[in-house]
């Protein structure tokens, strides 16, 4: 199936390996991802702190282009971009007056007809578990993974329409489908501080620390994310948190599609595993190819 793909700004930079993994996985699953032509930044999270109309109009331009190109489904890998697009579509659907305003601002027609899904939901629900399992040739046997959804992917429930705002399971099912173990833990949908981590460092450090601690105490060997910002916060700031709070976390963090790519037979080099801050090679060597490491050592 053809999907309009909205990578968002971070998939070209800090989330580049997520973008690569998405494309590898999509190819295996027979998904045709087409980047929305000349897309702009959706404004998250600064636009909605500043101006209501701007927060709606920036995503609306991208969605209008996707509609004009005839796409029925838009797939969005960043939870923040996804939330802004969903909120825009909901606001336009709810009020003809808002629809008119947005049309005037973006100078394009926008009907809010295309379905907007997170990349996680596209993979987990549209493509489905059966197809995923068919592609697994290197099961992640025994790998204990905490599926971390964060907040924006699942809330507010009425708009995001995820499976559950407090205990979502889509990513857990995918992880199990890859042969790994999805852990039952408490911080699945807690907030990581999003972009506040930069201007309010104290805030971020506490939130990220709590997430890591809870995952670790449930035996997580890795955490899977479905958002480039969650990934960056948990991965890049782990060392800073250790230095600041005297902890000693070394938990590899993965975009969920990276785990899929590994199980589908790709190697870490294929998507850029070495770009992670917390080294994951050893864990992968141990889990994915139990024979390789001992043979090579």
């Amino acid at each position: 199936m053809r999907y309009a793909y909205y990578p968002g700004c971070s998939l070209d930079a800090t989330g580049i390996e997520y973008d690569t993994a998405n494309k590898l996985v999509a190819k295996k699953l027979g998904m045709d991802l087409v980047e929305i032509p000349d897309w702009n930044c959706c404004g998250a999270t600064s636009a909605h702190s500043t101006n209501h109309l701007l927060a709606l109009a920036l995503p609306a331009r991208n969605l209008a282009i996707a509609e004009a190109e005839g796409f029925e489904t838009v797939a969005i890998p960043c939870a923040a971009c996804f939330a802004r697009c969903k909120k825009t579509a909901a606001a336009v659907q709810a009020s003809p007056e808002m629809k008119g305003k947005i049309r005037d601002i973006i100078e394009m027609d926008y009907q809010a007809k295309a379905e907007i899904l997170s990349f996680l939901d596209v993979v987990g629900k549209k493509v489905g578990l059966e197809k995923i399992k068919e592609q697994v040739i290197q099961p992640l046997r025994g790998l204990k993974v905490a599926a971390y959804y964060g907040c924006l992917l699942v809330r507010p429930a009425a708009i995001m329409q995820s499976d559950d705002p407090e205990n979502p399971m889509v990513m857990d099912h995918i992880i199990e489908g890859l042969g790994a173990t999805a852990l039952d833990w408490d911080y699945k949908t807690e907030c990581c501080g999003a972009s506040h981590v930069v201007p309010v460092p104290n805030l971020g450090k506490n939130l990220i620390h709590d997430i890591l601690r809870n995952a670790a105490s449930h035996g997580a060997e890795a955490i899977a994310t479905a958002c480039p910002l969650c990934m960056l916060n948990l991965d890049m700031r782990q060392k800073q948190i250790n230095a600041l709070l005297g902890t000693n976390f070394h938990i590899p963090i993965f975009h969920f599609t990276e785990l899929m790519a590994l199980a589908f037979g790709y190697s870490g080099q294929d998507f850029g595993l070495a770009k992670h801050f917390e080294p994951a090679e050893e864990l992968i060597a141990r889990t994915v190819n139990p024979g390789v490491r001992s043979a090579g050592a």
Binding site: W39, C151, G193, S195, V200, L203
Partner: protein, 189 residues
């Protein structure tokens, strides 16, 4: 909290509050102050007033006090509060409206968050996208936190996660027109 005199709050203030709540889709009188929103708020521990108390300020007509809280800036829009409110109050949407209104009135209690937002949006206005490197560099420079995240920067560049050339879209004019129109229409929503 010290004693407050509510007898001389003018009608305009109440009208402003009603309008703000309406924009956020919130009926202020629905909130019965149970505090469930605030119990689950991940940011509550550094807020000056809890989300529940911000709502109480509005119920009492103390708009100015609500607009001067740090809480409305610190709110991370995670929507835990709204999801759990037994009365269906859209707390997060209300926090957002208050933040926009505070900004409009030039009340920016959390200077660094406001600065971060301004730099972010200025990049989007210029390039159509938000180049992360430029965002962090300008933010560090202008906030005076020169060395923030410098330890991570080396890895970001080495691994190709950060680059100096900003990605920009072709039709930057379209985005600029969106900015101009939205800021023109301000206050009409």
């Amino acid at each position: 909290m010290e004693k407050v005199d509510l007898s001389n709050i003018g009608n305009e203030v109440h009208a402003d509050i009603t309008q703000l709540a309406k924009n956020a889709g919130v009926e202020l009188s629905s909130c019965y102050q149970c505090g469930k929103c605030s119990a689950g708020c991940p940011v509550g521990f550094i807020m000056d007033e809890s989300p529940r108390r911000v709502i109480r300020l509005l119920q009492l007509g103390l708009l100015d006090d609500a607009l001067r809280t740090r809480a409305i800036w610190l709110c991370a829009t995670c929507d835990t509060c709204s999801t759990r409110c037994p009365k269906g109050v859209a707390v997060a949407a209300l926090m957002e409206s208050l933040r926009q209104e505070a900004k409009r009135r030039g009340i920016t209690t959390e200077k660094n968050i406001n600065l971060f937002n301004d730099i972010f949006l200025n990049n989007v206005r210029l390039f159509g996208r938000s180049p992360e490197v430029i965002l962090s560099a300008l933010y560090n420079l202008r906030s005076g936190n020169f060395f923030q995240d410098m330890d991570a920067a080396a890895h970001l560049f080495k691994s190709g996660k950060a680059h100096f050339m900003p990605g920009r879209i072709k039709n930057t004019q379209a985005v600029r027109r969106i900015f101009n129109k939205c800021l023109e229409k301000e206050g009409q929503h």
